[in-house]
């Protein structure tokens, strides 16, 4: 930033305790947020218009939006451009419809290349829009700093998958899933290889004190989770024919009736399905 900026750290605040990062980025038309504001608000967050509509604001209109607990200022969206109106030579307004909702967008053009870019985009064109999310007179809007037509439509699929990925990541499910996947093989291996105290019924009941695999939205009982985790192992996911009930019973050292009960419950929950016949099962993918 130029030294004329009163909030430049090297001038007004050098040696002082006031952190220049506390300035609100939205007040400055062309400022960039300082790095200490938070990693997540620096990049472009892929979102759907529905997510934007449900984002919360901590205070007044000038405050930041929050999605999944993450500060969101700059977003990237993909959708169809509609109702393009050129209000003046540098103020172009349009709506973006991404199939989950419509949002009003503003594109300020300052250079000829930007004007040409907008001229070439007609109503009904799929575009990738990068912009700043703001609220004005109660309405949420996007101030676009880049609007580019989509040429490879795999980008449309990719964008929504990206939104889902980031949603999962920020909701911490993804990190739990990764952590669970690392500990699963160890636990299953320990069940089959190391001797464990058996109960009077003849099968073991492992403890889950240090085992966090609670990635399904509804809480599963310990044993159901064990069966599900076994089927969710990457090597078992890859097996086209699925896993036979007898194998699950052998691996988990549990009677086949107990396995069948767990499978019945998991099937009802939509977490597993029978593959080649009623004795082979696979886990539903998409953790």
């Amino acid at each position: 930033m130029s030294s004329n900026n009163p909030f430049d750290a090297t001038s007004a605040f050098s040696g002082g305790g006031f952190m220049p990062s506390q300035r609100q980025p939205s007040r400055f038309a062309d400022s960039t947020p300082s790095p200490s504001k938070g990693r997540d608000s620096q990049g472009l967050i892929p979102v759907t218009v529905k997510q934007i509509s449900e984002a919360s604001q901590s205070g007044d209109e000038k405050s930041n939006f929050t999605i999944n607990g993450v500060d969101v200022t700059n977003v990237t969206v993909v959708g169809m451009l509609f109702d393009k109106k050129v209000r003046s030579f540098n103020d172009i307004r349009f709506h973006l419809d991404d199939g989950t909702g419509r949002i009003e967008c503003i594109r300020w053009v300052t250079e000829n290349s930007e004007t040409r870019q907008m001229d070439e985009i007609d109503d009904g064109t799929y575009v990738r829009l990068n912009g700043h999310l703001q609220s004005f007179q109660g309405k949420r809007q996007l101030v676009a700093f880049s609007v580019r037509p989509v040429t490879n439509f795999d980008e449309v699929t990719f964008h929504y998958i990206d939104c889902i990925y980031l949603h999962l990541y920020n909701a911490k499910l993804l990190t739990q899933c990764q952590g669970g996947a690392l500990t699963q093989p160890q636990l299953i291996e320990s069940l089959s290889n190391t001797p464990v105290h058996t109960t009077s019924n003849g099968y073991q009941t492992p403890s889950f004190n240090n085992f966090t695999v609670d990635v399904s939205p509804d809480g599963l009982k310990g044993f159901d989770k064990l069966v599900l985790n076994y089927l969710q192992q990457p090597s078992n996911i890859e097996r086209e024919m699925g896993v036979h009930l007898k194998e699950i019973s052998q691996q988990l050292k549990s009677p086949i009736e107990k396995i069948k009960d767990a499978i019945e419950f998991l099937e009802k929950e939509g977490l597993v399905y029978s593959s080649i016949d009623d004795y082979h099962y696979k886990a539903v993918e998409g953790c």
Partner: protein, 106 residues
């Protein structure tokens, strides 16, 4: 801002979940009739799409319209999605967008 009229991602198998509602699907045209086309959805199910595709058209077309019944759509918007498109990925997205992540879309 308006989220009152979303279009659900569907393939042939998911169309029945949204009869009477706005949907979007990517199809490959198998046969053209007068006023409609027979298309193959991303899960290889044949569906009927009422309306006229764009001319010229590419191999893959996205249709946005209203699901008339569990195997036909009355298209309002047709968009050429190119001759190469990853239909498998799109199909997986349809499953996710109608399943665990429906709340991000509808």
């Amino acid at each position: 801002m308006d989220t009152s009229d979303p279009a659900a991602f569907v393939n042939g198998g998911l169309l029945h979940m949204h009869v009477g509602q706005k949907v979007r699907a990517v199809i490959q045209v198998i046969r053209s009739d007068v006023g409609s086309v027979v298309g193959k959805s991303t899960d290889d199910i044949q569906i009927i799409v009422k309306g006229s595709p764009p001319i010229p058209r590419t191999n893959y077309i996205e249709v946005i319209g209203v699901a008339v019944n569990d195997n036909s759509i009355r298209a309002e918007i047709w968009t050429n999605f190119g001759d190469t498109f990853d239909a498998y990925n799109y199909d997986q997205l349809c499953q996710l967008a109608n399943g665990w992540f429906k709340h991000l879309f509808l």
